[in-house]
Symmetry: C2
């Protein structure tokens, strides 16, 4: 089974990458952009999707500063 | 409009983060995992979604080594 894990900084946590992107876009001529958040995307094939949550908790995401969302497609 | 940009290493491009995760998971007791790829997730609010492709080409993704996928939701 294919799985996608979307990992994003928790609300309220400083996101320097997001700030950098948000400031760079107007300089490249792109207006009307706000609330930029930069996180991680992990894609994997997994035999037992039940393990995904524990994988996120233990390795893929940092529960202190990140939220994660698991999407699976058979 | 909310947009999500999923940025992933191109097929065939070395993905050291993906390899590291794929090797670490069994050590934490998670079996049955393969083809791990680690990329970036950029989420933003954008007024003109037509600009998203150019944003990806110019800043968000590196077209030489990365593919990107744009998802929008109103």
């Amino acid at each position: 089974m294919k799985a996608q894990v979307l990992i994003r900084p928790k609300a309220g946590i400083l996101d320097p990458q997001g700030i950098a992107v948000e400031q760079a876009l107007p300089a490249l001529g792109f207006g009307g952009v706000s609330n930029v958040r930069v996180g991680r995307l992990v894609e994997l094939d997994v035999e037992d999707p039940e393990q995904l949550d524990a994988m996120c908790q233990k390795l893929l995401a940092n529960p202190l500063i990140e939220d994660y969302e698991v999407l699976t497609s058979s």
